[in-house]
Symmetry: C2
Subunit: 354 residues, 2 copies
Amino acid sequence: MSEKVAIFAEGLFETPNGKTGHGVVRYAAREVVAVVDSTHAGSTAEQVVPYCGRPVPIVATLREAADLGATVLLIGVAPLGGALTPEWRLALEEAMALGLDVEAGLHTVLGDDADLVALAERHGVALRDLRTSPPGLSVPQGPRARPAGLRVVHSVGSDCAIGKMSVTLELDKTARARGERSAFVATGQTGIAITGWGIAVDHVISDFIAGAAERLVLEGAERGNDLLFVEGQGALHHPAYSGVTLGLLHGSAPDVLVLAHRAGTTVNSDYTDTPLLPLPALVAAYEAVVAPVKPAKVAAIALNTAGLTDDEARAAISEAERETGLPADDVVRFGAGKLLDAVLAALPATSGVS
Amino acid sequence: MSEKVAIFAEGLFETPNGKTGHGVVRYAAREVVAVVDSTHAGSTAEQVVPYCGRPVPIVATLREAADLGATVLLIGVAPLGGALTPEWRLALEEAMALGLDVEAGLHTVLGDDADLVALAERHGVALRDLRTSPPGLSVPQGPRARPAGLRVVHSVGSDCAIGKMSVTLELDKTARARGERSAFVATGQTGIAITGWGIAVDHVISDFIAGAAERLVLEGAERGNDLLFVEGQGALHHPAYSGVTLGLLHGSAPDVLVLAHRAGTTVNSDYTDTPLLPLPALVAAYEAVVAPVKPAKVAAIALNTAGLTDDEARAAISEAERETGLPADDVVRFGAGKLLDAVLAALPATSGVS
């Protein structure tokens, strides 16, 4: 029986915290049969969040999701802090009673919870922690450890939850459509739920962020690719997550950066006291902080124009180009071709993975 | 029976990897009765590493350390990556057989090792993991969560193992001697072994580095202090540890920075392909990266002049002052008074912790 996914997002599917669910609906290879959020029952995922792009039904209860054939419940929300709340625990228990496997990318490790483990055994279902770190992580060897000819592109951003993962997935998809031996490299729980491999670098021991990032790059090459699009996390000036951002940046040691930004935003979405730098200053900040480890330039601006009209989006894109002198586009709205052209032009020529 | 410490540093006491042992010999409130390193047996810690400043005997074997009255063996080396090696495991087993408690700040958690736990039970000794994270960590609330009047000073640096902890300890000691309600805030295993509290921020889940740093600052205030010297970790451009550095920097949200540097070094000590920025560029880089979260200026340069003559040290200090336009000094060699003056002058006036 092939897996069929229901996404649990009760009360939160429409919010930025529902981004795990949005990404999985839009990109997962596995079939998604339902979203559980009683506040939007009767609509489709696409109607509530146009980005989702698929008419997956939203239902009010786990039983309805099971009736639609779900075999696994994915916790589809990533709250600030990532802990398991009491309400969600009840939902997990109900899902297991209905015979569903449970998959989560929380910092709370399901497999460490004796009660949940016992319940899973009783109901004969599996618990999968997407964020669990692999064994044997350590510090990186440094950029020179990479195979010759490997090209690494990394998506950085001005904030969390603005579409870095989508930009990375769309660039990879377009590159593969053009015949590149390209891969998306997942660094967070949503990306792992979508692709089936990766490391949630925000959950590793902090001394090993860069080492985990390097390991992902090496694994991407071992899988036969010579062009990697490494998903970014957080933001360089994010009060909570900047450490993850910088460790991932130095550890993945990209050749080229793509800078993601949500059009019109000027303050951090979680810490509204914290301003976002203007785009040109942000380009300069990322290039400056990466340079001593391995120089890389920002090749393009990936603008998230969700909520704007097409005309407004085009105006915002033109303004970003004028400000930065770099190509800009919204890859979800208009496709990734233009930004991929800019990225490939900025990359060194490859001689293939040796 | 009060605790008496033996420091295990076999073959490594003289190297930078022995820094945990050096710091504990120099600063710990607990009595240190021996260093175990057969390659220097017969000398004192101070003779091999002048920084240690105390004539603790170096012995060849764990039995000699036990005969000198040791009640606890501290693993006094912090290798790159922080894993427990097979040789050290044998030493731990021997120490436990001799009746010593074992204390370590490795990433390898002693208490997770069933064999070591069983052996500790058999011999009636304790295993203490200095790097274990406290429960309940999460993301920070942000700088505005701090009590009014609290002043936070943070030591950043150009590299690892250059003396950031010593600078922080000496500034705190001098401030307390002047009557300040000051505390050293330990963020690594050596600092915790010295002071008995703190969090090893390099061992927490990477999403929570900044949250752990903020918790330490709040705890420092709760302990009745209104001036905190927060130990720095790593370096902003360190290929392995930059994530820890930046998360700690944004999470501790200092009012003033002190920049530590080893005189004459121009490349990263672990990654010799990675250049160190010149001091003025490094000052600018730290000030730029911290500014969006909470602006802070570098008030002074703490130069490590170990290995130079006093005249050479004075010349290096003058050169650093000329380059940066900031007061510089070697606080271990010449005392912390001058740099403390610069730090206090740069701090906002305090109205005391409310």
